[in-house]
């Protein structure tokens, strides 16, 4: 292949990547209103939760994980020990470990830098969209990383712009409106839809009950005792249920 052929391949290769990137940006358009709403809510909750404006902006840009940020807010407001706040954020983020393991086969041949970049921009929304397209067989055959980068870039821009709008708007609303309560309500909105099966309902109930019982433990350690109790209860039930044959298996013709 001469210089000309190599050059031509480079150009068509780049065009293909650009096309995959654009297709990714289009694929997420329908879930952008959801990302926008969550962005605004996190922004308002951060400033109303007591973060000074520059810190709220810094947190949004560097952490970019609404649930971990919302979970940290009540602990920051209560002056909990720093390691407790960071560990709580870590536990809230543990679901990303599962996502990351599920994505790896699709990106195994990329450089470490690209895998790290895709990981940084991966969220609940973008992961779910990627896996849905993978199952339907509607991912592009090549340049999947460019497609996912397109998905993630639109999600990131939307979320960040809306978070900034929420931060600025929230900082202008008087404290008497009680908007700091939106942080708690947003956590309820995260947990509510997740309570869709018996193990997770039992786990959440056990965690909540234990949290009330051991609330007096120093350094907010009760939070971790409660979380571990809930995780143990939910996992135990999940593993037991998955061993049993489904209840309606006998009646199915």
């Amino acid at each position: 292949m001469g210089i000309d052929g190599e050059y031509r391949q480079l150009v068509t290769g780049n065009n293909e990547r650009r096309e995959a990137f654009r297709a990714g940006r289009r694929a997420i358009l329908h879930s952008l209103p959801g990302a926008a709403a969550w962005g605004v809510i996190s922004g308002v909750a951060m400033v109303k939760g007591g973060l000074p404006l520059p810190w709220a902006i810094l947190m949004s840009l560097t952490v970019y994980a609404g649930s971990a940020q919302l979970a940290a807010l009540p602990l920051i407001a209560a002056g909990a020990p720093l390691w407790v706040i960071v560990l709580t954020g870590l536990i809230t983020n543990l679901r990303f470990v599962i996502y990351s393991a599920a994505l790896r086969p699709y990106f195994a041949d990329l450089s470490a830098g690209r895998r790290a970049a895709l990981g940084f921009f991966m969220t609940d929304f973008t992961f779910a969209l990627f896996m849905r397209h993978a199952q339907l067989g509607t991912l592009p055959d090549r340049n999947r990383d460019a497609w996912f980068a397109g998905v993630c870039s639109n999600n990131w821009i939307t979320w960040q712009v809306c978070a900034m709008a929420g931060i600025v708007a929230g900082s202008r609303v008087p404290t008497e409106w009680g908007l700091e309560f939106t942080g708690t309500l947003a956590l309820v909105a995260l947990v509510g839809p997740a309570l869709n099966a018996r193990p997770v309902i039992v786990g959440a109930a056990v965690a909540a009950l234990v949290a009330l019982l051991v609330h007096d433990l120093p350094f907010r350690l009760g939070l971790f005792v409660a979380a571990i109790a809930g995780i143990a209860a939910a996992s135990f039930m999940d593993i037991r249920l998955s061993r049993e044959p489904p209840a309606d298996a006998a009646s199915t013709p």
Binding site: A37, I41, L51, W55, M59, T62, V63, S67, A68, Q69, A72, P74, I76, L82, V86, T88, G89, L90, N93, L94, R95, F96, V97, I98, S100, A101, F107, R115, A116, G119, F120, M122, G178, F181, T184, L185, A186, L187, V188, A189, L190, V191, G192, A194, L195, P199, V200, G203, A204, A207, A208, A211, L212, H215, G222, L223, A227, I231, A234, D238
Partner: protein
């Protein structure tokens, strides 16, 4: 309990949260293919977020800076969370969830 985390402490928290978020998101993407996710571990990881969030929400709603739990049905925060939960049981629209929760909370604060 002391005042809210501020200054250097807040910087440490933000750096810590950013790092742990990055590490969880890139964990298996960066790990070599020798590492595999154990079934039991995966089950536990799946339930961790909801459990820790439930353990944050419930004491926060009932206590919120006070010395004792406020189980009163007239607790505005409890009413707000109940209204938000009711909304969520028939719609996934989070803006409606927040609006109904804030409405119940504000009405309770003004009227009760």
């Amino acid at each position: 309990m002391s005042g809210p985390v501020a200054g250097i402490g807040l910087a440490v928290v933000i750096v810590g949260l950013a790092l742990t978020t990055f590490l969880t998101r890139t964990s298996f993407l960066l790990a070599g293919s020798r590492l595999r996710l154990n079934y039991r571990v995966e089950v536990a990881l799946r339930y961790a977020p909801v459990c820790v969030l439930a353990a944050i929400i419930v004491p926060d709603v009932l206590l919120h800076g006070a010395a004792a739990f406020d189980f009163s049905p007239l607790n505005p925060r409890l009413l707000g969370v109940l209204a938000a939960g009711l909304w969520l049981s028939w719609s996934r629209n989070i803006l409606g969830c927040l609006a109904s929760g804030m409405l119940a909370y504000s009405l309770a604060r003004v009227l009760l």
